[in-house]
Symmetry: C2
Subunit: 131 residues, 2 copies
């Protein structure tokens, strides 16, 4: 991890993400900070997120809408996402950890994290689509 010299904005965002159990979009973060009286421009939010991402300090999951969700790097949570209604159900298990470690040891990449997501239909949408 590159010697880290963070801006105030980056620190604020990192703190916010650390205090939240859910993943936040850039716009969520913007509003969350605003609500806390901790005003910060939206562009700055994006720039800070980008910098933090590049140093491996947080984890990104991009939805099919194109919106990206951010959370602290410690998390290792995966999801099942319904392609129809978009509901996203966390899956508390990770079949990839060993694999990732081997990948790391191969020295070919510096691996920060992985995303694993299952797609299909939730039982609700599957039933209603049958007609």
């Amino acid at each position: 991890m590159k010697p880290t010299k963070r801006t105030r904005s980056q620190e604020r965002i990192l703190a916010l993400l650390g205090s939240q159990k859910r993943s936040l979009s850039a716009q969520d973060i913007y509003m969350e900070l605003q609500r806390a009286g901790d005003r910060m421009g939206l562009a700055t939010v994006y720039r800070a997120l980008d910098a933090l991402k590049l140093e491996g300090a947080l984890q990104v999951r991009t939805l099919e809408t194109g919106e990206s969700l951010y959370c602290s790097i410690e998390r290792d949570k995966h999801h099942f996402t319904c392609l129809q209604c978009g509901v996203s159900v966390p899956i508390h298990a990770c079949p990839v950890r060993d694999f990732e470690n081997r990948l790391r040891q191969s020295q070919k990449f510096k691996v920060f994290y992985h995303t694993l997501e299952f797609f299909g239909l939730c039982t609700n949408c599957d039933r209603s689509g049958e007609g």
Copy 2:
């Protein structure tokens, strides 16, 4: 899988995807069809992709740029993506297949496919970021 009644557009797109080894964006598909003299409006491409997606006929991977890539469902290829330069290297192995089967058997979701992606820095970007 729901009894499938496909439009001509859907068939054309499915055929195109089947004939390609790489994943295509909606815009790629649009241009590819155009090049083949097989004109189709961009909106129709998106609508067809959406329908095919919902019946589990193809697989979507959304990049951090918000752009989505589509390929036939058979594929089971994962990637390492460099957060800096965006280069995406295929990984020909899948540590998730068993897990997915168990998930399927739990009857909680109708699983079409999964995406697995590793993020970090490629050796190039890692080196150059060290200064």
